[in-house]
Structure formats: structure tokens, C-alpha cells
């Protein structure tokens, strides 16, 4: 009983104290202005953060800037290519040396890994994006295209754009896209690697997810064009994408290494 009474008195006192404090210092307007300041600083910092983090992406850059970047990157590419040529020479030297040291083996296995990834003969996984293309139902003006279905050319543009953005491995509905892959129309369905694939098309690509996404999403880019036609485009970034290896046979009958 006593405790309860004490509590009541105590709470009443604190309440009164708070009320007195608020009245004495006229806190209310400060709180209201403070709330607005809260929103303002919140938006300012968030905006600055997003602008800072997106300057590196293609989006929002001006054309001239992009051209400058391109020239710079090309220069860098040439430098790196020279480096690469040098290292290829070194590897060549190792190869010609009959000494089977551990360095040679490790460089060979590294080369083997790199080549098997680029040729698509191993399963790979990593960061990337998943694009789902679904047939649209919209009927278009007849002078352009009769339908809003996903055509082989659409898939080709998407794949091409992904490659241009640095995709390291691409698959369409489980069919790995490799150097000799063909994507073409075959009647009502599309063939990839001579295997039939049908809508909805799931294009998986491993690479820098941010670059891939912005390459597809860029204004007036592939995604915009496809959406205009009426095709459903859904892009999701994923941390861990698994892409199956190419399961056909690689036959080179006419191409021989020219030394």
C-alpha cells in the first residue's frame, strides 16, 4: 500500500516537474523546429551519401564525361594488355623450360581455371544479376512489330549488353552462353546452344552486379526498350548465383592453332 502511494506521488511530482520545465523554458517551439531540422538533416545526409556512392556508376554521367572515361579506360586497357603480353611470354618461357617446379604447376592450374571459366566448361557461382523476361500481352501498332513476345533478337541484345558490361558468365534458362553459342529463332520457340528454351526467359549473369544492373537499366537502354514493346522485365541483384556449365560437346574441326 505504502509503496503504491509513494509511486503515485513520485510520478505526479515528476509529471509536474516536466510540465513546469516545459512551461518555464518554452520548449515546445524548439521541439517543433527540431523535428523539421531532423527531417532536413536526414534528407541532406542521405542524399549526399547516395550521390557520393553513385558517382562511380554510369547512370547520371554526361556523355562527354563518358567519352573521357572511355578514352582513359582504353589507354588503361592497352597498358594492361602490354602487361598481359609480357606475362604470357613468361608463361611461355616456363612452358618451354622442362623444369617442373611448383611455380609452373600453379601457373598452369591458374591458367586452366581461367580458361575453363571463360570457355564455360565448369559450373561457376558468384555475385551477379538475374533478369526475367516474360512475354507481354500488349498488341502493338502493326507497322513496328506484331506482338510483344520475347524474340531472339531481344535475348541477343540483353546478352550483348551484359557482355559489354563485363559479365563473366551468362546463362539463359540453364543454357550456358559460350563463345560458340547461337541464339536464334526456330519457329515458335528460341534455340540456345541448339536446345529449345521457352518463355519466361531467365537470364543469369555473373559479374559486378552494380555495373550489370546499371548497364541494363540505363535510360533508353535495353530494359526501357523492351518495356516499351510490352515485354515484362524483372531485374534482381543476387549475391550468390550459380551457373551451370556448358553441357554440349566442343568440337573444333577446322580451327587449328596458328603458331
Amino acid at each position: 500500500m505504502e509503496k503504491d502511494i509513494l509511486k503515485k506521488i513520485f510520478s505526479n511530482n515528476t509529471k509536474e516537474a516536466i510540465v513546469r520545465f516545459v512551461k518555464k523554458h518554452s520548449v515546445m517551439p524548439y521541439i517543433l523546429i527540431g523535428v523539421t531540422m531532423f527531417f532536413l538533416t536526414m534528407m541532406l545526409t542521405a542524399q549526399m551519401k547516395t550521390v557520393n556512392s553513385t558517382t562511380e556508376i554510369l547512370q547520371g554521367k554526361r556523355e562527354s564525361q563518358l567519352i573521357d572515361d572511355l578514352v582513359q579506360l582504353q589507354r588503361k586497357y592497352n597498358d594492361l594488355k602490354a602487361d598481359h603480353d609480357e606475362s604470357v611470354k613468361i608463361v611461355e618461357e616456363y612452358k618451354s623450360n622442362s623444369a617442373t617446379n611448383s611455380q609452373l604447376i600453379s601457373s598452369m592450374t591458374d591458367e586452366l581455371k581461367r580458361l575453363s571459366i571463360s570457355s564455360g566448361t565448369v559450373n561457376v557461382k558468384g555475385e551477379g544479376i538475374v533478369i526475367v523476361l516474360t512475354d507481354g500481352t500488349k498488341v502493338l501498332e502493326p507497322d513496328l512489330r506484331q506482338d510483344s513476345l520475347v524474340h531472339d533478337s531481344d535475348l541477343l541484345t540483353v546478352v550483348n549488353e551484359l557482355k559489354a558490361a563485363g559479365a563473366e558468365a551468362i546463362s539463359i534458362n540453364g543454357q550456358r552462353v559460350i563463345a560458340t553459342s547461337a541464339i536464334r529463332c526456330a519457329g515458335p520457340i528460341i534455340q540456345v546452344n541448339y536446345q529449345r528454351v521457352a518463355a519466361p526467359f531467365t537470364v543469369k549473369a555473373i559479374g559486378n552486379a552494380q555495373y550489370l544492373e546499371s548497364a541494363i537499366n540505363i535510360k533508353n537502354g535495353v530494359a526501357d526498350l523492351l518495356r516499351e514493346i510490352g515485354i515484362g522485365v524483372k531485374i534482381t541483384r543476387e549475391k550468390d548465383i550459380k551457373i551451370q556449365k556448358f553441357d554440349g560437346a566442343l568440337n573444333f574441326e577446322n580451327a587449328n592453332i596458328d603458331e
Partner: protein, 127 residues
């Protein structure tokens, strides 16, 4: 004093929440225009305070209302493929500069008055 501490607390809280917020790049245009609108309201409040016309209701409604209308303009502009938000940007930044000049004049006037008063005092003492 208490008021200043409360204000600083709110600003710090806003800063921290802002650091942890992630705005998709698509919406950054909206936020940018909203920020301009809010800044305009704040400077407007300063000017009103100088004229002794500051009212908290007007400030609050202007602060949020302007931001919302500015965002709406951006939205409409996106839909119509016209950069209407440029109008908002121009109006808001114009008003911002006007308000700033009013504030500047007021404070420079005050300082001038002070200097003149002291000069006069010195003269009187000399005499």
C-alpha cells in the same frame, strides 16, 4: 540554452538516421527538390523572424507542404516527360537567395548601427 541543446540533439539524430538510410538512385531527384523546398522554408522562417512575423504554424505547413508539392512536381514532370522540377528548383533557389539577401542586409544594418553608436559615444566623451 535548453532550446539550443534540443535543436542540436535533433540535428545529430537526423544526421545519424541519414547515414543509415539508403535512397535508391531513382528517387534522388525527388529528395533533392524536397531538400531545396525545405531549405527555402528555413530561410523564409529566418526572414520572417527578422520582420517579427514568424509563426510556427505557417513555418511547419510550409516546410512539409512545399516539400510534398515539389516532389509531386517531379513526379508529374517524369510522367509528362517535361522537366517541371526545374521550375521548382528555380523558384526555390531564387527565393532562397532573396531571403538570404534580406537577412544579410538586416545584420549588416545592425552592425553598422552599433559602430555608429560607439563612434558617437567616443565623440561625446572627447567633447
Amino acid at each position: 540554452m535548453v532550446g539550443v541543446i534540443i535543436l542540436i540533439g535533433f540535428v545529430i539524430a537526423g544526421f545519424l538516421t541519414g547515414l543509415n538510410l539508403v535512397i535508391p538512385y531513382v528517387y534522388s531527384k525527388y529528395i533533392a527538390v524536397a531538400i531545396l523546398a525545405c531549405l527555402d522554408s528555413v530561410f523564409g522562417a529566418f526572414t520572417a523572424n527578422i520582420d517579427k512575423k514568424f509563426r510556427i504554424n505557417i513555418f511547419l505547413s510550409g516546410f512539409f507542404g512545399n516539400a510534398l508539392i515539389a516532389m509531386f512536381l517531379v513526379f508529374i514532370g517524369d510522367k509528362l516527360n517535361v522537366d517541371i522540377y526545374l521550375a521548382a528548383v528555380i523558384v526555390f533557389s531564387g527565393r532562397l537567395l532573396n531571403n538570404f539577401s534580406t537577412i544579410r542586409r538586416e545584420y549588416i544594418q545592425k552592425i553598422d548601427n552599433k559602430v555608429n553608436r560607439e563612434k558617437n559615444k567616443n565623440k561625446i566623451e572627447k567633447i
